[in-house]
């Protein structure tokens, strides 16, 4: 009896301690103008924006700003800069906005900008390669910064949009105490739980309408949807496609959706027969019904069927004249026949070089839409008689396979450019020296020439002429099959006002215009 009484007592006491140690009532402190929002990804322990992609999350939270930014139509707009003069092909003078204060009250000056850029160019930064085009950065006077590039490089100004080069206060520990210039200032951070920000009363632009925000990091998409439904949060990013109808049905909630810069595509291994044959690559394009992928794998709400490499959301660089490959199975079969792929043994499946023609589509699951999309593509290829498997790998293993040419098709998700400049994506994927072009084995001297020219041409219209040709050629050569442009789905409580969905949504979330009604 003694034991039992003891056990009960111990349990009762531990329960009491737990209750007392938890400030239960304090939990409901969501007073007035503090927004609660669910994000998917958050920073690691280290909050320095120059550390990997932490800057993206800190920019989402409105803590840091960059010299230039993008508006909701993807136009480059001045932020901490007011403008720039191009002194020569390789030199820019950037004029800083006057009277900007850091969150600690000190003024922004050219020294801080030089510091913020130089630390990213340092070889110890794993992403320094993205800024290796810069030769030197120096302060001309307190309000002017000069940037010299090694060679003429037209994406130079656009590259300053990446929050990797957020302008930071020098001489503070940025890992733990972020000091920026944004409309919101850092309050506290719990790793894997939440980032708390407060309104910056000394912001140079329109001051934030919110008093602050709690940004929660929730990796499970169903949980995010239910938190929105239950009123735990006012806004939730990355809703699961299956929940869109349900949330639209609630009178106090709505779903905002916008095509983003993110795209899903299939790499074709051109280094391997028969994929080195253009007819085969074209046949694959004709055999795929992109609308069916969107309607089924994405539940009709998660994306838009792709035409060419860039969605029309890309501000000035999308070639809007391109025509999509139509879904045409008989044409696909005819093209395969031209390439010597036909059913020679009469078993209903196509054969190539005396053996059954089979394809494996490799992909990874950290992007939820990849696997269902790959499965539908597989089913579509089977319909024209190609035996098709889907193989799921981890991203690292997949990259290794691609680098070694050990694949047929590989389904990937790519952001076509956070900064809005097409050079980043095009040079990686279609310039024959690009890291991704090496994986597909794509090399077209014309495309190489156009891309090099576009990179050293400063007139946007001139550049666009080259990019128009590149997009046509790439669609015709088809080293990659473009499937769909991904939609961002954001669930919003109707009391949230002024939320703007940016195409470059991966770096934009909290803005001064956001407010809470009621």
């Amino acid at each position: 009896m003694l034991i039992i009484r003891n056990c009960t007592a111990v349990m009762a006491i531990s329960l009491m301690i737990l209750i007392l140690s938890s400030p239960v009532l304090a939990a409901s402190g969501n007073s007035g103008k503090v927004l609660n929002g669910d994000l998917i990804f958050g920073p690691d322990e280290n909050l320095d924006p120059a550390y990997k992609y932490t800057g993206w999350y800190m920019h989402e939270a409105g803590i840091y700003e960059t010299l230039f930014g993008l508006d909701e139509n993807m136009n480059i707009v001045p932020k901490l800069a007011t403008g720039f003069d191009q002194v020569s092909d390789t030199q820019y003078e950037i004029h800083l906005r006057p009277n900007v204060l850091f969150h600690d009250g000190t003024p922004l000056d050219a020294k801080a900008v030089v510091f913020s850029l130089e630390r990213v160019m340092d070889s110890s930064n794993p992403r320094h390669g993205e800024f290796s085009f810069i030769d030197s950065v120096s302060a001309v006077d307190d309000n002017t910064v000069s940037i010299k590039t090694k060679e003429p490089y037209s994406p130079a100004i656009a590259s300053l949009i990446d929050p990797l080069v957020s302008i930071v206060k020098p001489d503070v520990n940025l890992n733990t105490t972020p000091v920026g210039t944004g409309p919101f200032k850092f309050d506290s951070y719990e790793k894997g739980v939440k980032l708390v920000v407060k309104k910056n009363d000394r912001y140079w632009g329109d001051k934030a309408k919110l008093d602050g925000a709690n940004l929660f990091f929730v990796s499970d998409s169903m949980t995010r949807a239910m938190q929105l439904e239950g009123g735990d949060v006012d806004i939730a990013r990355g809703l699961p496609q299956t929940e869109v109808q349900n949330i639209k049905g609630k009178s106090n909630l709505e779903v905002l959706s916008k095509e983003t810069m993110r795209e899903n595509l299939i790499y074709i291994n051109m280094r391997k027969a028969p994929f080195d044959n253009l007819s085969v690559r074209l046949a694959l394009n004709y055999a795929i019904d992109r609308q069916e992928i969107v309607d089924t794998a994405l539940e009709g709400v998660g994306g838009v069927a792709a035409v060419g490499v860039f969605s029309s959301q890309n501000p000035w660089s999308a070639n809007k004249e391109l025509k999509a490959y139509e879904f045409d199975q008989s044409r696909a079969k005819a093209l395969l026949k031209d390439a010597g792929i036909a059913d020679t043994d009469g078993d209903g499946w196509l054969d190539y070089a005396g053996k059954p023609f089979s394809i494996t589509i490799k992909t990874y699951t950290s992007r939820a839409e990849n696997k269902p999309s790959a499965e539908i593509v597989a089913a579509q290829l089977e319909k024209i008689g190609i035996k098709t498997n889907v193989e799921i790998l981890e991203t690292g293993a997949l990259t290794t396979d691609l680098t070694n040419g050990n694949y047929d098709l590989a389904l990937y998700s790519w952001s076509t450019g956070t900064t809005g400049d097409p050079d980043y994506f095009f040079s990686k994927h279609f310039l024959s020296t690009g890291a991704e072009a090496k994986k597909t084995g794509y090399s077209n001297p014309d495309v190489d020439k156009w891309l090099e020219k576009a990179r050293t041409t400063f007139d946007q219209k001139e550049r666009m002429k080259y990019y128009t040709k590149v997009q046509e050629q790439v669609l015709a050569d088809s080293p990659e099959i473009f499937l769909f442009y991904l939609n961002e789905l954001v669930g919003v409580n109707k009391k949230v006002k002024g939320y703007v969905l940016y195409p470059s949504s991966e770096i934009n979330f909290l803005t001064p215009e956001l407010s809470l009604g009621d």
């Binding site: 400030p23 239950g230 981890e394 952001s415």
Partner: protein, 315 residues
């Protein structure tokens, strides 16, 4: 007793060494270049040059045994290294994420005991009755139901329909309000196992001669069950409770993910996805240590509850 504990602690060392070797080997054999995975960002795969630089710096180009020995030498000196992804000290990260898991586990354990012990006793005493049938059906359901499903079900009922509790999240440092749903989810499956064990062990105890003797002496049934039978029946149950507790402490990645609870289960799965091997090894080592320590504690409990083991250990 002290000698017994000391012997057990010394025996821990080879086990821990083995755990670290196995974890390291599994990590080393798993496909994919860790440098590549670590540097992959939302923009897509990283620059090959950056990958090479990272491999060089992290010493990934050395042979496996050199890498392992380098890690081991530091670990022996108490330095588990730094996370490749976040740069924080592994020991700090592991302990930080263990606190939420510990809190959750304690509450889950209490919930599971509050359900399972009375249920098990009642089922045994009223064997074959409706209560027994219902109780054991619930227990069967408890073990069979996947935890993510139960989690969603509880959220829909208690948080969305009845609006009694928050859906998910860590609240103010893991307050009770936010803890109830994940704790009940975890507690349910633990309770299922414990109550079945309690029932069968109680049934066995009730058939013993000393129970017949106690009844013959005219003791009230309540006293027979709770004083005489339960004390003996609890022994095997304690083992199960100990096992349950270690299972809870290992952190359920599923439940922690659904409820956005920043525990060690979440830390482990994230580190595995990111191939953050100092972190994986740190977690494995910590959990192995915990598992062994809890087993030791269960043995010590045995020693005090069951006088027979005291004589056998020759103390």
């Amino acid at each position: 007793m002290l000698a017994f504990i000391l012997k057990r602690i010394i025996l821990l060392l080879p086990v821990l060494l083995l755990v670290s070797i196995i974890s390291f080997t599994l990590f080393y054999l798993s496909p994919g270049d860790p440098a590549e995975i670590l540097l992959t960002g939302p923009q897509g795969p990283p620059d090959p040059a950056a990958v090479q630089e990272f491999r060089e710096r992290a010493g990934f180009n050395d042979p496996a045994y050199v890498q392992y020995l380098r890690w081991l030498t530091k670990a022996v000196h108490g330095d588990l290294g730094y996370s490749y992804t976040s740069g924080e000290r592994v020991s700090d990260a592991v302990l930080d994420s263990f606190v939420p898991t510990l809190k959750l586990s304690l509450v889950s354990l209490i919930i599971s005991l509050l359900i399972s012990i009375p249920l098990g006793i009642l089922s045994a005493v009223r064997k074959g009755s409706v209560i027994d049938g219902l109780g054991m059906m619930l227990a069967l359901l408890g073990v069979s139901v996947p935890s993510f499903w139960l989690a969603y079900l509880l959220i829909i009922l208690l948080a969305l329909q009845l609006d009694l509790l928050p859906v998910a999240g860590y609240g103010q440092n893991g307050d009770l309000q936010h803890m109830i749903l994940p704790a009940v989810t975890l507690g349910a499956s633990a309770a299922a196992v414990t109550s079945r064990m309690m029932r069968s062990s109680m049934l066995e105890a009730l058939q013993q001669d000393y129970i017949t003797a106690a009844r013959a002496r005219g003791l009230p049934e309540r006293s027979v069950v709770l004083r005489h039978a339960l004390r003996n029946a609890l022994l095997p149950v304690i083992t199960v409770i100990g096992l349950n507790f270690t299972y809870l402490l290992n952190g359920s990645a599923v439940v922690e993910t659904v409820f956005a609870w920043p525990g060690i289960g979440n830390l482990m799965t994230d580190s595995i996805y990111e191939r953050d091997y100092p972190m994986i090894l740190g977690c494995m080592l910590f959990l192995a240590m915990l598992f062994l320590a809890l087993n030791l504690m269960v043995d010590i409990c045995y020693y005090y509850i069951n006088p027979r083991t005291r004589h056998e250990s020759g103390d």
